[in-house]
């Protein structure tokens, strides 16, 4: 039981102090599970990140499942997941309850008018890093998906599934060529 509480507490801290989500959380998670607790070896951490990024869902949550499960099986995974969820849930619920009454305030409204274009800039910024090293075909696919989802309102799910199928077929063809 003490082990589970420790896992819960570690991931509660990770959930409460990681702003910006995703990649911003990685150093903090690493510090907690490698250096402080020694739950995961440094070389396993890189594997863990690959896995957490390949699976759907928030990276912090995926990491929590992996570390919790390695430590204490299913109960450990649950303890870690609840640890990540609780701070975000409590804070956002408080904001949501409070914010509905504040939304009509002129100053708050002005602040959000300023923040909206900034949000767009923050969404665009990582694209530059992600397209680095991408070939022409990849860029064309990315552009086509962007237009299809934005302009035609097609659900991105279809493109994810197609991408997965094409990638799998490509790996099959390549594998056969390699065997020859």
């Amino acid at each position: 039981m003490r082990g589970l509480a420790e896992i819960f507490w570690s991931f509660l801290k990770i959930g409460a102090f990681t702003f910006g989500g995703g990649y911003a959380m990685i150093p903090l998670i690493g510090h907690e599970v490698i250096e402080r607790r020694g739950w995961i070896a440094e070389r396993d951490f890189a594997d863990l990140l690959t896995l957490a990024q390949s699976a759907p869902g928030p990276i912090a949550l995926n990491t929590a499942v992996f570390v919790g499960y390695k430590r204490r099986g299913f109960a450990g995974a649950l303890a870690a997941v609840f640890g990540v969820i609780v701070p975000s849930f409590v804070i956002i619920l408080a904001v949501a309850m409070f914010f509905s009454n504040m939304r009509d305030n002129a100053i708050v409204d002005a602040a959000f008018r300023g923040m909206r274009p900034a949000v767009v800039a923050l969404i665009i910024a990582p694209i530059i890093g992600l397209t680095r090293g991408m070939r022409g075909v990849g860029m064309a696919v990315a552009a086509a998906v962007a237009v299809a989802v934005w302009y035609f309102g097609i659900s991105p799910v279809w493109f994810l599934l197609s991408g997965a199928v094409v990638g799998c077929l490509y790996a099959m063809v390549r594998g056969k060529e390699a065997q020859r």
Binding site: G20, A110, T131, M134
Partner: protein
């Protein structure tokens, strides 16, 4: 009420299950479910939630689930949406962790991941496009030349590795000065 909760659960299960690429890529999925399909929020409200998520800790997908769940169906809605978005992660990661050693070097798994990568980039771009050029005028992100100034400065700040929370707070202050005081 039950129907709304059920729809909320289904939408967030879907978002969790197809949420490849993490945070920003999930935004276009969330937008597609919450704004386009179910019309629970307007474009502007969606953008505001993204701003709030930037300023509060935790993954954006969880933040948005809790917030939108509350807006749509109260506290119960926020519990349902938050658990629903986490469930696919939990299940899939448990499976992956168990079979990790066998899957790790599997070329098909690598093929799938490689095939989805350009789609994920496109999804992030579509989230930005949806906010810049929305389909309806309500809740536009860009209302005048100042919007573009804030946008350009934030992009510059982000390229210089300035903390995103600092950038959001600065743009909020800029908004108060530009739109609130005069």
């Amino acid at each position: 009420m039950i129907a709304t909760l059920l729809q909320l659960m289904l939408s967030y299960l879907k978002i969790g299950f197809f949420g490849f690429g993490g945070g920003y890529a999930m935004l276009s999925l969330i937008h597609s479910e919450v704004v386009v399909r179910n019309a629970w929020l307007t474009n502007g409200e969606f953008s505001d939630i993204v701003a709030i998520s930037q300023m509060t800790p935790g993954p954006i997908a969880l933040n948005s689930a809790t917030y939108i769940g509350y807006e749509v169906a109260g506290v119960l809605g926020s519990v349902v949406a938050t658990l629903a978005v986490s469930l696919p992660s939990l299940t899939l990661m448990l499976l992956l962790t168990r079979f990790f050693l066998r899957l790790h070097d599997n070329r098909y798994v690598q093929g799938v991941v490689r095939g989805m990568r350009p789609v994920v980039v496109g999804m992030i771009a579509s989230a930005a496009l949806l906010l810049i050029f929305p389909h309806s005028d309500e809740g536009r992100s860009f209302i005048d030349v100042w919007s573009w100034v804030i946008f350009a400065l934030t992009l510059l700040g982000s390229a210089r590795k300035i903390n995103p929370i600092a950038l959001i707070v600065a743009s909020g202050v800029a908004g108060i000065v530009i739109y609130g005081l005069f």
